[in-house]
């Protein structure tokens, strides 16, 4: 699964730490999600896309091998 959290963060001009605080996880978790090392749960994915006011699939998208 890919995501464009980094891009969305840049648009909204918030840091990893601020996003982490907004969804109630640690900064490391946001960092690993951004670098595609960790796949968030559905609840966390929904929370993140709500921060950006975007539908889920605008932030997270499936890859070929998924």
């Amino acid at each position: 699964m890919k995501n464009n959290i980094r891009v969305e963060r840049a648009i909204k001009n918030i840091t990893q730490g601020e996003l982490a605080e907004a969804v109630g996880v640690s900064r490391q978790t946001i960092n690993t999600i951004e670098s595609n090392k960790y796949v968030p749960s559905t609840v966390l994915a929904l929370k993140i896309s709500r921060v950006f006011n975007k539908p889920l699939e605008a932030v997270f998208m499936l890859e070929e091998e998924d």
Binding site: Q16, V25, S26, R27, T29, N31, S35, Y38
Partner: protein, 147 residues
């Protein structure tokens, strides 16, 4: 995400204190040439030998459990995942060690095997868990340097 069955964050320090506290008791015993096995082996739970056992082994074990199963400051879903992974590694290693020791030990050594089993899973779990968190933190720091 709610993680059940974990101790509060401050238990980490209580656990550490328990572990550190049991060392002087052991050293005290060693430096005075005091061997707990020389104590009279009376039946009952308040015999000197059993009290010494409680003061050392159990104190260390309780401290270890408190330390290992204390919550992180921010206990999120990734941490839960890491706990699960690390626990699996620890169980694998423990059973590997158990099998090896069972093969190469005769029945005289069973007490030592038990003693090894007391702390190996917990200590290995904790080392692996901390190591992964350390690596995650390092990745965050390197990322911050780049941007």
């Amino acid at each position: 995400m709610k993680t059940r069955f974990l101790f509060p964050y401050w238990c980490r320090y209580l656990g550490l204190a328990c572990i550190l506290f049991h060392i002087p008791i052991l050293l005290f015993a060693k430096s005075f040439g005091f061997d707990p096995h020389d104590l009279p082996d009376e039946p009952g739970i308040f015999s000197p030998r059993h009290l010494f056992f409680i003061a050392t082994t159990l104190l260390m074990l309780i401290g270890l459990v408190l330390l290992v199963f204390a919550k992180e400051k921010i206990e999120d879903e990734q941490i839960s995942q890491l706990r699960l992974d690390s626990l699996q590694w620890a169980i694998y290693l423990n059973y590997l060690l158990l099998i090896i020791t069972l093969v190469f030990a005769d029945h005289q050594d069973f007490k030592d095997i038990l003693r090894l089993n007391l702390w190996v899973p917990l200590v290995f779990f904790y080392i692996r868990f901390r190591w992964v968190i350390f690596r995650l933190n390092r990745a965050v720091r390197e990322d911050a340097k780049l941007s």
